[in-house]
């Protein structure tokens, strides 16, 4: 049954389901969009810049803002002390003693963590003053790799928790143990899914004001929801809900989940406004966004299936580690639980065992990202299905088909509790095979392989959940904890429709879109119900918690618009229609049941009475005295809608985590270049059953966009970290996003099985390809290469490495011994040697001489003695045009005169941190000369590591070599002098000699 078939709809105008172009476009195409940074600001608005940690893990030992405060245009600096005074840590979804403040208070736990906020007259001046904030860091060991972080002896991020696993839950559905004990075959796989982000082209935006009189905050931000986080923000700000007025701009430049993560900055900038007593605006820049905004959750999964000989999966066992970064930021650990009810995907697998562990590491905190939880689940599950086929020597598609939930079994209760609302999976697969041209694709593979080319086909089926149950996250708690906390469930959506005195229609929805075209669809639905022209309807999607209808589920996430929000619009329109029908019926003396709406008119079915829509609607404003007694006058209706199917998790941890479950069947043909390892997508077919389509153009748009992002994750996108926790994907030249050249056009197919649970029969469709495409491409590559372990992204270098190199040896004397290298890491090591005039003793003594040191350190402006053989140096270091001034500590240690010593340095600059240490050995050679051999290790952190990765190795090598060539030049005859320390010592003690 589908409410859309309601008999109250007359003269179907065909608006719903039509390929309707968008009402949003005109303004956007003229450059008249109004995004956050386009809005007028209140007079006196100041601008913020955020000082961020260059260290992945460090204790804050000091913070001195005095120099910054004295700089031009600076009004104030918000620090951890202010935040401690006015705010409190963000509430966390699991019961653990972890304090996450909007500005670091005692420790920093990831590169890019905010340490202070400078507020100045403009952004340029604010950034200038970042250099005037002096922070003392005591670097700590790091936990970066997910598995290493849970191993014994790993450094603990949150000491009070005592471990890096902050949530550990086990689930058992059915009888997996028996199924595994009696399994004919077992197939297992371990996969790692990397971090990425859909990187909207507009970054975060916040404009905050603080009202001293009320103690309230008024903030405009391109926050996307869920508005459950409004409560998280008010808790952190220590104000009641009505003292945080949160508004969104009319337009938002993309989000894909990521703009959920702006919420800590809403709090931060609110406090910044309070600090300076003026409105404060902050526009996040791209470096900040890539490094520290938010990210999808990287996951390590061990998965095992109990399988029959013919490929039927009887049970699944999943051991999953979610790496949520340095803090468990709301709504995490939702990446796990968003998918929990439907963990068995599109398959009729009744026995399931799951262990979910949430791990803290020194990386950026994670959050919503399109597909949320799905890519991770399907990468494990669908790779496993492909492995089952390979290991059992079956056709992968056949293995998929044998395990699908059978036709005619919907609604279907999946093992972990999802109530799959509708679908016909076998029919959809058959349709995809037929219309997508699989037979021809198989021929292409055959032909390619005959010609000796590397060609593979990948398949994936996926269930795409939409309209999240706001209670799913409580599955992270034990039943006992849930009982204590009280049940959470549902998904309230809202819509308001007003009809003005001239019959003009305005609608408001609290769905905070970021480009999906909600205004268009809302207008389509209203035009359909009320029989008015689409163009006459004005839809407002700004959300203002101070005066609009909203609830905790408001916002744009979990693909909830078409099922839930458009449904609420439909319900609100029906309310308006019902009221107008009663008014018209009374005027005409007919039964309200006979009143119809269409073509801008209200009329009687089978009768003569007819009036324009605006005439009937106008009566509610102009002549309320003429209305039936039941009528209040005025015409505005708000509908709240929540589906009864979304109940809280039960005591057996069964959870219907979403309301709707679409179906996706994807397959692709990929070809791999034998020489370069480049993966070319030859063909990509994607079939979607997302229930009733409200606007197929917009559906196709979502599929194309999701496909492009999924392809990026498959082939190139990754937030990469060095072993020391440095972030190394800091620009759009390092974090690679597919362009028009890399994205082919997929063949998009549709099937429509309306949802029985949503008012219009629609389901979400926005995230499916982010879930299905990465693993589909991976399966294609696995098929082409015949290999098991596939790790994304499948860069040419990585794919070619999977194929194996048969490398000719390094010819004698050519090139250097390959030093230990950390691929993509930031630890730089090398060795070299240089010949220097003078004996080892002379060289050694010279190195201890501060004048020599000052002369040989490139770009040294000043050297100040701070202890025995220890100095503070002011140096400008760099290569080419790239230069930064470092405040550095230089020390000479492990002295073994005149044979060896260690020269080390560490410093910070606006570009980030750098430290290095060179072990130096001196050997006397012929001609009164010395051979100086050195091995160095250096590492850099902060901005320079995140943007300069490509050149760091060469650059560090060049800079370090400069020191020793300068030494050699310096010693072209110079006599060694006593070190400054020795001279001071002589003065003080009257003794000379070596120290």
């Amino acid at each position: 049954m589908n409410a859309f078939e309601s008999p109250t709809l007359d003269k179907r105008s065909g608006h719903i389901g039509k390929r309707q172009t968008r009402v949003e476009d005109d303004a956007l195409l003229r450059g008249q969009g109004r995004y956050g940074d386009d809005l007028a600001t209140p007079p006196g608005t100041l601008h913020a810049a955020v000082l961020r940690s260059p260290h992945a893990h460090a204790r804050l030992t000091s913070l001195d803002v005095s120099r910054a405060l004295a700089m031009p245009g600076v009004h104030g600096v918000l620090t951890g002390d202010d935040v401690k005074r006015w705010a409190q840590p963000f509430p966390v979804g699991v019961r653990q003693p972890m304090d996450h403040w909007c500005v670091a208070v005692d420790k920093v736990r990831y590169v890019g963590e905010p340490v202070a906020v400078v507020i100045a007259e403009n952004r340029y001046l604010a950034e200038d003053a970042l250099e005037g904030v002096c922070v003392g860091y005591e670097p700590l060991p790091v936990a970066v790799d997910t598995e290493a972080a849970i191993a014994d002896g790993a450094v603990i991020l949150h000491e009070a928790v005592g471990a890096n696993v902050v949530n550990d839950r086990r689930f058992c559905y059915g009888d997996p143990q028996t199924a595994f004990d009696t399994a004919e075959r077992r197939v297992s796989l371990k996969v790692r899914f990397p971090r990425s982000s859909c990187t909207p082209i507009e970054c975060y935006f916040v404009l905050a004001q603080y009202d001293v009189a009320s103690g309230g905050y008024d903030v405009t931000s391109n926050f996307q929801g869920p508005f459950a986080l409004h409560s998280v923000m008010t808790r952190a700000l220590k104000v009641p809900g009505n003292l945080l007025r949160l508004r969104t701009p009319p337009d938002s430049g993309g989000s894909f989940g990521i703009k959920q993560g702006v919420f800590p900055y809403v709090v931060m900038m609110g406090l910044a406004a309070r600090k300076v007593g003026a409105p404060v605006k902050w526009v996040e820049d791209r470096l900040e966004h890539l490094q520290a905004s938010s990210s999808s959750t990287n996951r390590v999964t061990e998965v095992e299936a109990a399988v029959t000989h013919d490929g039927r999966v009887t049970a699944l066992r999943l051991d999953q580690l979610d790496d949520c970064g340095a803090y468990l930021r709301a709504p995490e650990p939702a990446t796990f639980y968003r998918m929990h009810g439907n963990l068995t995907g599109a398959y009729a697998i009744r026995h399931l065992e799951v262990r979910n562990r949430v791990v803290m590491t020194n990386k950026t905190p994670t959050g919503l990202n399109r597909g949320f939880g799905g890519p991770q689940v399907y990468f494990a599950l669908e790779r496993l299905m492909q492995r089952i086929a390979t290991e059992l020597d079956l056709d992968p598609l056949e293995v998929i088909r044998r395990n699908l939930i059978p036709s005619g079994s919907f609604p279907y209760r999946a093992a972990a509790g999802a109530l799959l609302d509708s679908g016909d999976y076998p029919k959809a697969v058959a349709l995809g095979i037929e219309e997508g041209g699989l037979a021809e694709l198989l021929e292409r593979r055959k032909a390619a392989r005959r010609a000796g080319r590397l060609y593979g086909i990948g398949y994936t089926v996926a269930v795409e959940p939409s309209i999240s149950n706001m209670g799913y996250i409580t599955t992270a708690m034990t039943p006992e904890e849930r009982r204590k906390a009280g049940p959470k469930n549902g998904a309230v959506s809202t819509a308001t429709i007003s009809v003005g005195p001239l019959g003009d229609i305005s609608a408001h929805v609290s769905s905070t879109p970021q480009g999906q075209g909600h205004r268009t669809v809302v207008a389509q639905v209203i035009a359909e119900v009320l029989g008015v022209p689409l163009e006459s309807i004005s839809v407002n999607v700004e959300l203002d918690t101070g005066k609009d209808a909203w609830s905790i589920a408001s916002g744009n996430y979990s693909s909830r618009f078409s099922g839930a929000v458009a449904g609420a619009v439909y319900n609100a329109a029906l309310k308006i229609k019902q009221r107008l029908a009663v008014i018209a019926a009374e005027q005409w003396g007919v039964d309200a049941e006979r009143v119809r709406f269409g073509e801008g008119r209200v009329f009687v079915d089978g009768g003569d009475a007819s009036a324009s829509f605006h005439r009937i609607a106008g009566a509610t404003h102009w002549s309320p005295g003429t209305l039936p007694e039941s009528e209040s006058g005025g015409l505005r209706e708000t509908a709240f809608w929540t589906p009864p199917e979304l109940v809280a998790p039960d005591d057996n941890d069964l959870i219907n985590s979403s309301l709707c479950y679409g179906f996706i069947f994807d397959y692709c043909g990929v070809e791999i270049d034998r020489i370069t390892g480049a993966v070319r997508i030859d063909r990509y077919v994607t079939l979607h059953d997302a229930g009733r389509m409200l606007n197929p153009d917009l559906v196709d748009g979502q599929v194309r966009g999701g496909f492009a992002q999924g392809l990026g994750v498959a082939l190139m996108e990754e937030f990469a970290y060095g072993d020391d926790g440095s972030f190394i994907s800091g620009t759009f030249a390092d974090y690679l996003v597919p362009t028009a050249v890399e994205v082919p056009e997929p063949l998009i197919l549709h099937m429509e099985t309306p949802s029985p649970f949503t008012p219009l029969g629609a389901k979400g469709v926005g995230e499916g390809n982010n879930m299905s495409t990465p693993v589909c491409v991976a399966n294609g590559v696995a098929d082409a290469l015949g290999i098991k372990d596939i790790e994304l992204p499948l860069t040419p270098s990585k794919v070619r490495t999977l194929m194996g190199f048969d490398e000719p040896p390094r010819p004698e004397g050519v090139g250097e011994e390959v030093a230990k290298q950390t691929p993509g890491g930031s630890l730089l090591t090398a060795s070299d040697s240089v010949e220097i005039p003078g004996t080892p003793r002379q060289v050694f003594d010279n190195l201890l001489d501060p004048d020599t040191l000052a002369a040989i350190i490139p770009g040294c402006h000043a050297l100040e003695l701070t202890g025995e053989n220890a100095y503070r140096a002011d140096v400008t270091v760099g290569v080419g045009m790239i230069r930064a001034r470092f405040d550095a500590r230089v020390a000479l240690r492990d002295l073994d005169p005149p044979h060896a010593l260690r020269l080390s340095g560490a410093g910070t600059s606006s570009m980030g941190s750098a430290e290095g240490s060179a072990k130096i050995r001196l050997t006397e050679i012929e001609g009164g000369k010395t051979r100086l051999d050195y091995d160095y290790e250096a590492s850099v952190g902060g901005k320079v590591a995140s943007v300069g990765g490509r050149m760091l190795q060469s650059a560090s090598k060049m800079i370090i070599a400069q020191i020793f060539t300068r030494l050699s030049r310096h010693l072209g005859g110079a006599a060694p002098k006593a070190s400054l320390w020795q001279r001071i010592k002589r003065l003080v003690t009257g003794k000379g000699g070596q120290s």
Binding site: R22, D37, P200, R704
Partner: protein, 175 residues
């Protein structure tokens, strides 16, 4: 000319066919100048390091990144931004084609793409799809998957060629 770092200098230039002037310190990016001094907020800022293309404008007719130019550098030059495209109150053919082909979603990258396409179509009247995609590779769009954009550009090229046939000799497409 020689301007001190803290000195605001007057920049006079042509913006969308009209002479405009404003003041800028040497370090002010052209993108900030256009948006916040000139009020031309249709040009957006996406990366400030020249990769995403959102801030692309025409400088003396050539598509250029506004984030990789200084305001002081456009003194005496002719600039066009997205606000110049609509004709007689209506969308121009390129904008209309973007609308028809669902070539935009959030619209944030769109202004820069429109400006690149404008220059491209003027120089390459009969492009292949490969050429269009090559030109678009200087832009990042995260919403659309690019298909609608490619189709819109190809359609405009074809329509303009049809329109010009008859009064123009064979266009030289070799640029």
């Amino acid at each position: 000319m020689h301007v001190k770092s803290d000195q605001r200098t007057r920049v006079i230039f042509t913006l969308n066919g009209r002479e405009r002037s404003g003041h800028a310190e040497p370090r002010m990016q052209l993108s900030d100048f256009l948006r916040h001094e000139m009020g031309a907020t249709g040009t957006h800022i996406g990366c400030e390091h020249g990769v995403c293309g959102a801030c692309t404008v025409l400088v003396d007719g050539r598509a250029s990144r506004a984030c990789l130019m200084l305001a002081v550098q456009v003194h005496g030059r002719r600039l066009e931004t997205v606000e110049s495209l609509a004709e007689d109150g209506g969308l121009n053919d390129l904008q209309q084609a973007f609308h028809n082909h669902h070539a935009l979603q959030c619209g944030f990258c769109t202004a820069g793409i429109l400006m690149s396409c404008s220059e491209f179509l003027a120089r390459v009247p009969a492009p292949t799809e490969t050429q269009v995609r090559d030109m678009l590779s200087g832009h990042l769009c995260r919403c659309t998957g690019y298909t609608g954009i490619v189709n819109a550009v190809l359609e405009v090229a074809a329509t303009r060629r049809q329109f010009q046939e008859g009064d123009t000799e064979q266009e030289n497409n070799n640029v």
